[in-house]
């Protein structure tokens, strides 16, 4: 393996190679999953294939350093920013984050104060919520994500999600696998074992139903009318992401954004930072239909399959077109196995699904569950698991 030090002695162009080696650091700063080993690799490749041809270098580094489609899409812009004159390090923002951090800090701090209300004491007046939700504008003020790391509720939430995850493990498929014990004889395996005893099947092999966990897709409404519950659900989502591998989490308001990676970040402070960049528009207006349609178009085919449970958390206050919402929900419902809607307002005694969005959604749902606090979700857990079966 050719190292940077070895190359520096050769006269391939020390400056150029150190510059190339520094590219991984630049990508790392832009959120790529690259390591120091990669910088050795790329210097190696550059030395082999020639670093002077810009196109070849670009293609080679692209296939070497990109690991997934999002990285693939952003690569060319980052490559240009790093290598092309005037070589100014411009942090190219991913297309999910529209406003720069500087922009998003301006504006009123209202949303921050409101969001500190705990779900228990938050009884949002429906009319007030409706008034708030009737905005199409994005909220540009920054959101304080430090709530996400509060310890008070965290343990309870984690315990509940662990229970849910454990129960989900017991969903069985029809496909069978070999096992020590089981209900059906595995003939092939039995014959295989009988080879050891001269063709007399003394020991039996068995088959059992394969266990499988359904994939979960969480769509969290973080518009202003949901403000009191957004953090609570984000915490739930993070606990669930840590328990189960196949959970995909999105937040939506006027746009839809994937937050799975940010929630999975093991460093809580980094997770906070990443979220606050992603959540531009948090606590603004709602366009459920448009967001779901975007989701269907961009993620639907990839994420939602016949074993996917889609969990939508929203109060159903929608400023968009109801026909659009019905259309998007219909498409999603056909793709998914189950569709469950959590509505935090459902706990209130005089609740009727009057919100336009909620009324539109009703025919497409397998389960409409209340979900204002942990206790409510705990109560609905058996039904939820049953509906995902």
């Amino acid at each position: 393996m050719l190292t940077v030090a070895a190359l520096e002695q050769s006269n391939v162009g020390t400056q150029l190679l150190t510059r190339i080696a520094g590219f991984t650091g630049f990508l790392q700063a832009n959120g790529y999953g690259v390591s120091a080993a990669d910088s050795v690799d790329i210097v190696d490749v550059a030395a082999q294939t020639g670093a002077l041809d810009q196109a070849i270098l670009r293609w080679n580094l692209k296939s070497l350093l990109c690991n997934r489609y999002e990285e693939w899409q952003r690569f060319d812009a980052l490559f240009d920013a790093y290598f092309l004159p005037p070589n100014i390090k411009v942090f190219v923002q991913s297309d999910v984050a529209i406003g720069t951090p500087e922009e998003t800090t301006t504006g009123d701090g209202d949303s921050t104060r409101e969001s500190s209300a705990t779900p228990e004491n938050a009884k949002i007046d429906e009319t007030r919520a409706a008034q708030y939700s009737a905005s199409r504008e994005e909220n540009l003020s920054s959101t304080d994500f430090s709530e996400l790391n509060q310890a008070d509720q965290a343990r309870k939430v984690e315990a509940l999600m662990r229970r849910l995850a454990r129960r989900l493990k017991h969903l069985n498929l029809r496909r069978e696998v070999r096992s020590q014990r089981g209900r059906r004889l595995d003939l092939q395996g039995t014959i295989r074992q009988s080879v050891a005893t001269g063709g007399t099947p003394l020991r039996f092999a068995w088959k059992t139903r394969r266990r499988v966990r359904p994939r979960l897709v969480l769509l969290l409404d973080v518009s202003r009318s949901m403000n009191a519950y957004s953090f609570f659900y984000l915490r739930l989502a993070r606990a669930l992401c840590n328990e189960l591998a196949d959970v995909h989490c999105f937040i939506f308001h006027t746009r839809i954004t994937g937050v799975g990676e940010a929630l999975r970040d093991p460093d809580p402070w980094r997770a906070q930072e990443r979220l606050s960049v992603l959540a531009a528009g948090w606590a603004g207006g709602t366009r459920i239909g448009g967001c779901l349609q975007d989701f269907n178009r961009e993620q639907g085919a990839r994420l939602v399959h016949s074993r996917t449970g889609v969990l939508i958390v929203s109060d159903g206050y929608d400023t968009g077109d109801t026909a659009l919402l019905a259309d998007a929900l219909g498409t999603l419902r056909r793709r998914a196995r189950r569709m469950v809607w959590f509505n935090p307002l459902l706990n209130q005694p005089d609740f009727t699904p009057v919100a336009r969005g909620m009324r539109t959604a009703m025919p497409y749902l397998d389960l409409l569950a209340p979900g204002a606090d942990l206790a409510a979700i705990e109560r609905v857990l058996p039904q939820l698991i049953e509906s995902l079966r």
């Binding site: 692209k62 296939s63 295989r192």
Partner: protein, 292 residues
């Protein structure tokens, strides 16, 4: 640059139009000996890369189609139990020592080679295509990782079989499941987009030389338009080829708004779901056809 252009030319004569970036990556896979992970929508020609590359390198193509529940026995090796049992019965009369008999029964003659074992025991380096790896489960992925790092398989009864030559591994994924970071890290990555007009036209010309120049242009323009629409299942390159064949079969030599009715009859080759099909009314088809 010459190598890349050379490989592109070779791939083209093997029936695959590759961008320079893809050719460069294929050369890099050869240089580094790393697997190549290819992602992209269904029908953009991911699998075809392996076919064409095998042809160019004059190598054998060994294909492993992944599916849910794929296990080691289907991917690596399995003993031929029936033959073994038969052999045991036949050897009962034999008075050779027991150890010899056992060696006989667990010899390579009774081993059924599945694609992965096949790939590492070839005399000449083959192209190993692991198709739709996202359909197999995580356990298999972990197993695959082990194979791709050591290129050896251990069979308890027989010992470890190391690769004579390293296969050239191409892995495709449709993205129905997120692949593990470990697998991604070990691979070079290539994302294949839907082809642009020029590329698709070149493909149609290679694959369907009987179509006239004008028809080929119109077909590609039409398909490109269709892809821009909101569809559940966008037509891939295979669909374009099917549709071209369907048009030729129906004797349609020109696409224009007057022939919309006849074009609709052939659309079953292009549009594959009922919802999408309902969007293609004669008006819509005529409008698209008029712009071609």
């Amino acid at each position: 640059m010459d190598d890349i252009a050379g490989l592109q030319g070779q791939l083209e004569s093997a029936g695959y139009i590759a961008e320079s970036a893809l050719a460069a990556t294929l050369l890099l896979t050869l240089d580094l000996g790393r697997p190549l992970l290819v992602e992209g929508d269904a029908g953009v020609g991911k699998t075809e890369i392996a076919n064409a590359f095998a042809k160019v390198r004059n190598a054998r193509l060994i294909r492993l189609q992944c599916y849910e529940g794929l296990d080691v026995h289907a991917a690596m090796y399995e003993w031929n139990y029936q033959r073994q049992l038969l052999a045991i019965k036949l050897l009962e009369q034999d008075d050779r020592p027991l150890a010899d008999k056992e060696k006989d029964i667990f010899s390579e003659a009774y081993l059924l080679k599945r694609p992965l074992l096949e790939a590492i025991s070839c005399e000449e380096s083959p192209v190993l295509l692991i198709d739709e790896v996202d359909r197999a489960d995580e356990a298999f992925e972990a197993y695959l990782l082990e194979l791709l790092s050591d290129f050896q398989i251990s069979i308890p009864e027989l010992g470890t079989i190391s690769a004579i030559t390293r296969p050239l591994v191409i892995i495709t994924s449709n993205g129905t499941r997120e692949l593990s970071d470990a697998l991604r890290r070990r691979c070079l990555y290539q994302f294949i987009e839907y082809p642009d007009f020029a590329k698709e036209l070149a493909i149609v010309k290679i694959k369907a030389p009987q179509a006239a120049e004008q028809l080929a242009r119109q077909v590609v323009a039409f398909v490109q338009q269709v892809r821009r629409m909101e569809l559940q299942k966008k037509p891939g390159i295979a669909e374009t080829m099917d549709w071209t064949a369907a048009l030729l079969r129906m004797g349609i030599t020109v696409i224009n708004d007057e022939g919309a009715e006849r074009i609709i009859d052939t659309l079953s080759a292009l549009i594959k779901t009922r919802e999408d099909r309902t969007g293609f009314t004669p008006d819509v088809v005529a409008r698209i056809a008029a712009t071609c």
